[in-house]
């Protein structure tokens, strides 16, 4: 079993009087998809924002490749190879796929002051990378606004992968998508994992998690209820853990096991 690329130990995060995270431990290894499950308000977003340098943990330790780190900003985390694809994606709908893909890291050619963007190179790479992810663009100049939600997720993922992410964090990438698009994103996750990248997949949908996950960690009211390997848990067990056991069990019996 490979060693963890990113390890979070006993992370606590307080927002004033609110204890959003209360001692969460989590790790992700190369080439695995580690699902982080939890109901709304469980603290998933807070936890991954701590991982990606948006928040500083109140207490706890973070290790990248075994070295203790403290990120001051998302840029630090990105420099350490931790890329995050948020629900709002950080994509600009009015701009072309290629321009979005390279935003902030535009390739250049020529000599100053006549240095220009190497559009041909940028466009070719964009089309090729998107094709690898199973998306056939009309052209690199197609605006991101014309893509579907799932395709946009894929552009964001492809961008992170191309720029050398070691850990890819996806915050609820499937929550707003239809069946077909969800399947596309899940197969993208699978592709990324096969390239040896560690994927952290956040969701509150047990079926989506089971479809791609290698390990599962459930977060409930700011605490972890342990991590399970693939095959060691089934949907109803995860569902139970997410709801905190008791309540769903009673609810389920009254609904006849349809949840």
């Amino acid at each position: 079993m490979s060693a963890a690329i990113l390890e979070m130990k006993n992370i606590t995060k307080h927002f004033g009087p609110v204890i959003a995270l209360n001692g969460v431990s989590f790790d992700v290894r190369a080439g695995e998809c580690h699902c982080l499950l939890g109901d709304n308000g469980a603290g998933k977003s807070t936890f991954i924002k701590t991982m990606s340098g948006v928040y500083r943990p109140t207490e706890g330790q973070m290790l990248v490749d075994g070295q203790t780190v403290a990120f001051a900003s998302p840029r630090d985390a990105m420099a350490a190879g931790i890329a995050t694809v948020y629900q709002d994606l950080a994509m600009i709908p009015l701009m072309s796929v290629s321009r979005n893909f390279w935003m902030g890291r535009e390739p250049e050619k020529g000599i100053w002051p006549f240095r220009t963007m190497n559009s041909k190179f940028a466009d070719d790479i964009t089309v090729a990378e998107m094709r690898k992810m199973g998306i056939n663009l009309r052209g690199p100049d197609q605006a991101v606004g014309t893509l579907s939600g799932g395709e946009r997720q894929t552009v964001a993922i492809a961008r992170a992968v191309y720029f050398g992410a070691k850990v890819l964090i996806l915050d609820e990438p499937t929550s707003a998508l239809g069946v077909r698009q969800t399947a596309n994103v899940l197969s993208t996750v699978d592709r990324v994992r096969k390239q040896g990248i560690g994927v952290v997949f956040i969701t509150h949908n047990v079926r989506h998690a089971l479809a791609v996950g290698d390990r599962f960690t459930v977060l409930n009211r700011g605490q972890t209820l342990g991590t399970a390997e693939r095959g060691a848990v089934d949907a109803s067990a995860l569902q139970d853990l997410m709801a905190g056991g008791q309540e769903l069990a009673t609810l389920e019996s009254s609904l006849g096991g349809t949840v």
Binding site: P74, R75, D88, L89, A90, M91, I92, P93, L94, M95, R99, W102, M103, G104, R105, E106, E108, R115, T116, M117, S119, R131, K132, G134, I135, N136, R138, A143, G145, T146, L147
Partner: protein, 373 residues
Amino acid sequence: MSETTTAPRPDERMKQVAPWRRALIRPELGGICGTILVFLLFGAIAGDSGMFAAEGVLNWTVVSAQFMVIAVGACLLMIAGEFDLSVGSMIGFAGVMMAILSVQMGWPMWAAITATFAFCILLGAINGWLVIRTGLPSFIVTLAFLYILRGLTIWGSVYFTRQTIIGGVAERAQGDWLAALFGGKILGGLFTWMGDAGWIATFTKGNRAGQPVIDGVPMLVVWAIGLAIFGHWLLTRTKFGNWVFAAGGDAQAARYVGVPVNRVKILMFMFSAFCACVFASCQVMEFGSAAADRGLLKEFEAIICVVIGGALLTGGYGSVIGAALGAIIFGVVQQGLFFANAESSLFRVFLGMILLIAVIMNTYIRRIITGER
């Protein structure tokens, strides 16, 4: 790798669009159609008025060039997501500052021009810095500067000269190398040759008899074309251009991937001020004087050109070529109605209508391109 990389099928739900149609669907399309339309229109109603003779062409070219100079600055700034309503006041301010420094203080013209440019670009930077720092809409911050600068201009002019018009700049500019860059003309020889060849009209009497009615292309026109080409190149070909789009499209998303949004926006405010100074310098050199009321309403006229040219008022989308065409439309309509002997008040009616049609058409084109809903 064992995996075969088969190309995914083309999306069957995507209508096949003919290449010529795709090439046509671009942000400038509205501007291109509008330009063709106004030329056809005025060709029909003012074709025999001299509007398309050498002198007439020069007339509307100069007016269009004036609009173009400030429209390029406004366009880049608007794409970066900000407005500058102080452009008009800045034009008045720059002209008066230049005149006071050269005529009243006796500075050489080149020094007066350089100092004015430096100070106005600094003012542009302050505009930008305030917008970034306070997080207020640039509409409000630059509106404040619209009043502050206009007030300072009138006060300064009266304080130093007891007048609101400062003459005598022409004498000071005589033989100055930098002044010639704004007030000079080029290609004089070409026009003399064209006059001799009988292609353009020549004066028939007076002390200039035999000389062509046009003695060169004013530097203003050169500046306008140069700025439009530079702006277009910067926006579409360079990394910085990508940052301009990104800063206006979604500042937060751009910051997140490391685009220096604040620097981009402040630089664009400075560029807008630079364009206002070019306008002011050319105007002062042309008239040989500065006046405190120059540049009134120019900020709105610049914005109108930009919007006719297909830019989005909320930023992140637009074209410098479009803005330049918007300036041509504006100039041709304004001078064309004059040539057509139309009631001058009708100009505003006409302009309002063009603005409305252009914006509706551009919204439609943009929806096709960007998938906005």
